[in-house]
């Protein structure tokens, strides 16, 4: 049974991108304003869930040919790697570093290793949420 809900699908497509951009904004803002890896990741997967509701599993899978389990693993690797990276510089596990840089386009920007760690969190959250929802959704 497939209902023809063109309006919902069209709206979902547009809203999807709005949510995604907002999610990415939240993720990058995380260190200074409310937001961060968790919210960013959840919102991103929320956007994908929206697509799931508007279309169906197969379509979305074609749109995102990503194995979300791999994404989870990649995120974990990022986080552990960032934390363990500090050992190379002979400082205790999990020591973060940051500095301010003058970048073109962005102006004065601060770059953090904490951001890399947060990126891992972001990826894990997307990976986990989507793995769960996809697995449940696909099972009959």
């Amino acid at each position: 049974m497939k209902t023809n809900d063109v309006i919902f699908q069209t709206v979902a497509k547009i809203v999807f991108f709005m949510i995604i951009f907002f999610a990415i904004h939240l993720f990058f803002a995380g260190h200074y304003y409310p937001g961060g890896g968790f919210v960013g990741g959840l919102l991103t997967s929320g956007a994908i869930v929206l697509l799931l509701l508007a279309f169906d599993m197969k379509t979305v899978r074609r749109g995102f040919p990503v194995d979300f389990k791999w994404l989870t693993a990649l995120g974990l690797l990022f986080s552990v790697g960032t934390a363990a990276g500090s050992l190379i510089f002979n400082v205790p596990f999990f020591t973060h570093a940051y500095d301010y840089f003058q970048l073109p386009l962005f102006g004065k920007t601060s770059l953090h290793t904490a951001m890399l760690f947060d990126l891992g969190v972001y990826l894990v959250v997307i990976g986990v949420t989507m793995t769960i929802i996809q697995t449940i959704g696909e099972s009959e």
């Binding site: 200074y32 304003y33 409310p34 968790f38 959840l42 959250v125 986990v128 949420t129 769960i132 697995t135 449940i136």
Partner: protein, 113 residues
């Protein structure tokens, strides 16, 4: 306000425990969900309510709300999501395999060795 929130959290706990003690699987899952809500509210209350600005330094306020409970709760929210998801799937698989959601009938088999 804090006193009121303590009572609210207590109510949530009571409702959650009551649900968790029932025999229906779905009610147990909903109970765990309520329990985490109660815990989060309780944690937040412990940090003191409305005592300062949002814990973001850009606010340049004289005092800030306690950020520690917030960080704890943020972790807890995400974890409880994971827990709920696992519970749901266990419930649904158990129902599929055993054909019942009555906890009495789901009693584990006696296994000797």
């Amino acid at each position: 306000m804090e006193i009121l929130m303590c009572i609210v959290a207590g109510l949530l706990f009571a409702a959650a425990v009551y649900l968790m003690l029932s025999k229906s699987l779905l009610r147990i899952i909903i109970g765990t969900g309520l329990l985490s809500h109660g815990t989060h509210l309780m944690l937040l209350t412990m940090g003191g309510l409305k005592t300062g600005a949002v814990p973001v330094l850009g606010e340049n306020a004289a005092s800030y709300t306690d950020p520690i409970p917030q960080a704890l709760i943020l972790t807890a929210i995400v974890i409880s999501f994971g827990v709920t998801a696992v519970f749901l799937v266990i419930a649904y698989r158990a129902y599929q395999e055993l054909g019942t959601d009555n906890m009495d009938q789901m009693r584990g088999m006696e296994t000797d060795d």
